[in-house]
């Protein structure tokens, strides 16, 4: 590592809350010239939030950002970050699909204007593409729409590394290799090393631990919105890195409940393999079980639930994104609860209003929905209580199997406890639950866990053998394997 490192950015005590949810707490981070920092952590550890704050797209609720030793105030934003030479390649692609490669370069660089801007922008991006990804085969006149996913990613990366009149000091790459093949990913990692050796700085966020270990100088491990470990990359290996991401203190305590007879007897209620499964592994669900679908976010768990879902087989679905898939925003709380049970509330052809109201208030009490009047609009409830209403909808129906798509996202801890207890009680009454969750704590409530990676089941863990270490190991498998 170079001896004359200069500090570029220092974050001190940075915190960020979204409502009641604390995404980041008291984070310290220093970035200096000539280093590549690896940032790792499980889902929701706060990596992307931290990088958004650094890039100026989110404003922290607490703490201080120092750029070149100068404290930035609340007005720190993307434009200032750009001026200071801080750029970010965001996880979701952020190019304009209706513009060409050249035009997208212009969007990034305000200084490309006046006569001949198109020529300058074209030269800028093609030189950078040629430098980072030799043999990329991308035409600068092509619309982004017409490029493949990995070509788009290449353009976006090349655009972030391109330099006009403003300096370029830090490039933040959030999961840049997720849509690149091994050869191209390697080209990128080599470029990162070149960039760093010329005095630039990189922050690399990746789930590919091999990448992080081989390309970074320093590795920062995050968990639950805080930095839990920060060491030179040479002081880590795969196992110690995985260990740092999990929490030893929270090692699962086996309780008396585990010794209860396994429900894995007789014939399985559901016996199904994910579409992308290569081996014989199957998802098996028995009556009265709570089965957890674990792994990193977006590894095929939701797809599995959608594949399994069929209302004819007495199933109900609790959506994770309640704003877009869950609630009917114009309806009352009671209507939102009873919509799943309409068939049972019919008297001849018409809806029996009294039994509908009775059903709604029964579930209000049972699940403790905090509202003075169930005829109020659903949006009058807090987020957690809206989610409770969605649970009530699923449980009030006579569905025997309930599929849950990460339903506790952004729900406060008190509500969670209420819902966990109720799920357990309902399972004891013979209902079956399939539960996709990205939080390890929730898996503790499951009788059996399947870990997903790249759309496949990679681990099949009964409750008695479950611990965080094992789930993390399965979630992050070597990319080469």
């Amino acid at each position: 590592m170079s001896k004359n490192k200069k500090n570029i950015v220092t974050l001190t005590g940075v915190g960020k809350s979204f409502g009641a949810v604390k995404a980041l707490q008291n984070v310290q981070l220093e970035i200096s010239t000539g280093e590549c920092i690896g940032l790792v952590g499980h889902n929701g550890a706060g990596k992307s939030t931290l990088m958004n704050i650094l890039a100026g797209t989110l404003t922290p609720t607490k703490g201080e950002i120092n750029v070149s030793q100068v404290a930035q105030d609340q007005l720190y934003n993307v434009a200032i970050a750009h001026q200071q030479g801080i750029r970010c390649v965001f996880q979701e692609l952020s190019l304009c699909p209706n513009l060409t490669v050249t035009e997208n370069t212009r969007v990034m660089h305000a200084s490309l204007q006046g006569w001949g801007w198109r020529k300058k922008a074209g030269a800028l991006i093609i030189d950078m593409l040629d430098e980072i990804f030799p043999g990329h085969g991308i035409s600068i006149k092509a619309l982004i729409d017409d490029l493949s996913l990995s070509q788009r990613q290449m353009v976006e990366i090349a655009r972030a590394f391109s330099i006009t009149d403003t300096q370029l000091r830090i490039v933040i790459l959030d999961e840049p290799t997720s849509s690149l093949d091994a050869v191209v990913a390697d080209q990128l990692l080599q470029h990162i090393r070149r960039f760093v050796s010329r005095g630039g700085a990189c922050v690399l966020i990746s789930h590919m631990l091999e990448e992080i270990l081989s390309s970074c100088d320093r590795i920062v491990v995050m968990r639950d919105g805080t930095v839990v470990a920060e060491k030179n990359a040479t002081d880590f290996n795969r196992d110690s890195l995985v260990a740092a991401m999990g929490s030893m203190a929270r090692e699962y305590q086996h309780d008396a409940n585990d010794d209860a007879a396994s429900k894995r007897q007789g014939t399985a209620l559901i016996n199904c393999a994910p579409k992308l499964q290569h081996d014989e592994q199957q998802l098996r669900v028995y009556k009265g079980e709570i089965v957890g679908l674990a792994g990193l976010a977006g590894q095929g768990q939701t797809e599995m639930l959608v594949q399994l879902f069929s209302p004819q087989k007495s199933m109900a679905f609790v959506a994770g994104d309640r704003q877009s898939d869950g609630i009917f925003p114009l309806w009352s709380i009671a209507e939102n609860i009873t919509i799943g049970s309409m068939r049972n509330l019919l008297r001849k052809f018409l809806l029996d209003k009294n039994s509908a109201a009775a059903l709604a208030s029964h579930w209000q009490q049972k699940i403790a929905i905090r509202s003075p009047d169930l005829n109020h609009n659903i949006l009058s409830l807090s987020g957690g209580n809206q989610q409770k209403a969605l649970f009530a909808r699923a449980l009030a129906s006579n569905a025997q199997t309930v599929l849950m798509d990460d339903p506790m996202r952004g729900v406060d801890i008190g509500t969670k406890q209420d819902v966990y207890d109720m799920i357990r009680a309902e399972a004891d009454n013979g209902r079956t639950f399939l539960w996709y969750t990205t939080e390890f704590d929730e898996l503790k409530h499951c009788d059996h866990v399947y870990v997903f990676r790249n759309g496949e089941i990679v681990a099949d863990i009964p409750k008695t053998q479950m611990n965080e270490q094992r789930i993390l190991q399965a979630s992050f498998k070597a990319s080469a394997a």
Partner: protein, 309 residues
């Protein structure tokens, strides 16, 4: 070299126009003259301006249901205030443009659906026009009428004006550096914002531009008709949307073509004459315009399918 589906699609507006022109020339060969073309394309200029106004709004993923009423207001101002006290008239027109810009700011800041806001505004514009000119009448300023009936040598004025306007707007939105940002704001707003651009500014710019084109549409219209009428351009609202789509634009995603929009507007204008030459009652005109639209869009869908294959 074979014609790629994309090329074919971008040539589609020009091809639809050629087909209808050839059909008209076939039915009535005398239109193939300076005088004939002038008559045919007479009303194309105001419609083309209004279509460009609509296109500006569609670029930023909005829709303007008030443009017809707005053009009516401008025509009424043109036939009254602008003639009687030119200074006041010019100020009133500038006020119209400013109110369009303010509309864009309101829609962006309050995150309102543009369809609702502009539909509401369409009634406001109509009311305003009726207040300015309760009965059809008034008279256009002499200079305006003189411009609109100006005789250019060899090629009719309308054709020259249409070409100049199409190329100018093409340059503004498709070639210039800031035009790229404006279209990008339609394609992926968050990406443009993350690159440090103000989305408020892009929206206000596009709405102000739409206001300018709306004013030009109203003035050219009143220059042709020489008198104003509050209801004169109500039909324009849907006609302009059809023109933009016919010209290769899409409702969302910042995919627009100024040259295409002008060609689309001209095509829709010509369908009226085409039906007249076929001795079909003008009552059928709107239906026929719809039919042409369906035909062209179906063709585009077929091309898109060929492209994805």
């Amino acid at each position: 070299m074979t014609l790629s589906p994309r090329m074919f699609r971008s040539l589609l507006p020009a091809m639809s126009l050629s087909v209808i022109l050839i059909a008209i020339f076939y039915l009535q060969p005398r239109t193939m003259s300076y005088f004939g073309l002038n008559l045919l394309l007479n009303l194309a200029l105001p419609i083309a301006f209004a279509t460009l106004a609509q296109m500006c709004i569609i670029t930023v993923n909005d829709l303007d249901l008030g443009i017809g009423g707005f053009v009516g207001v401008v025509a009424c101002i043109g036939a009254t205030l602008l003639n009687d006290s030119p200074l006041l008239g010019v100020l009133a027109l500038l006020g119209c443009i400013a109110s369009y810009a303010a509309l864009g700011a309101l829609i962006h800041l309050r995150q309102l659906p543009s369809i609702v806001v502009t539909l509401g505004m369409s009634f406001f514009w109509l009311g305003l026009a009726l207040m300015i000119l309760p009965r059809p009448g008034g008279s256009a300023p002499q200079w305006l009428h003189a411009i609109m009936t100006f005789k250019t040598p060899y090629i009719p004025f309308t054709i020259i004006a249409l070409s100049v306007v199409a190329l100018l707007v093409h340059w503004m939105l498709k070639v210039s550096a800031y035009g790229t940002i404006l279209r990008g704001a339609g394609g992926n707003p968050s990406s443009v914002e993350r690159a440090g651009w103000s989305l408020l500014k892009t929206k206000v710019t596009m709405y102000a531009l739409a206001g300018c084109f709306g004013v030009l549409a109203g003035l050219t219209l009143v220059g042709l008709t020489t008198s104003g009428d509050a209801n004169i351009a109500l039909r324009y609202t849907l006609l302009t949307i059809a023109g933009v789509i016919l010209g290769g634009g899409e409702f969302v995603g910042g995919r627009i073509s100024p040259i295409g929009a002008v060609l689309g507007a001209v095509t829709l204008t010509l369908t009226g004459s085409f039906l007249a030459f076929l001795h079909i009652s003008p009552d059928w005109q709107i239906g026929a315009q719809g039919g042409i639209l369906i035909l062209v869009l179906a063709l585009r869908a077929i091309i898109n399918r060929a492209e994805t294959r």
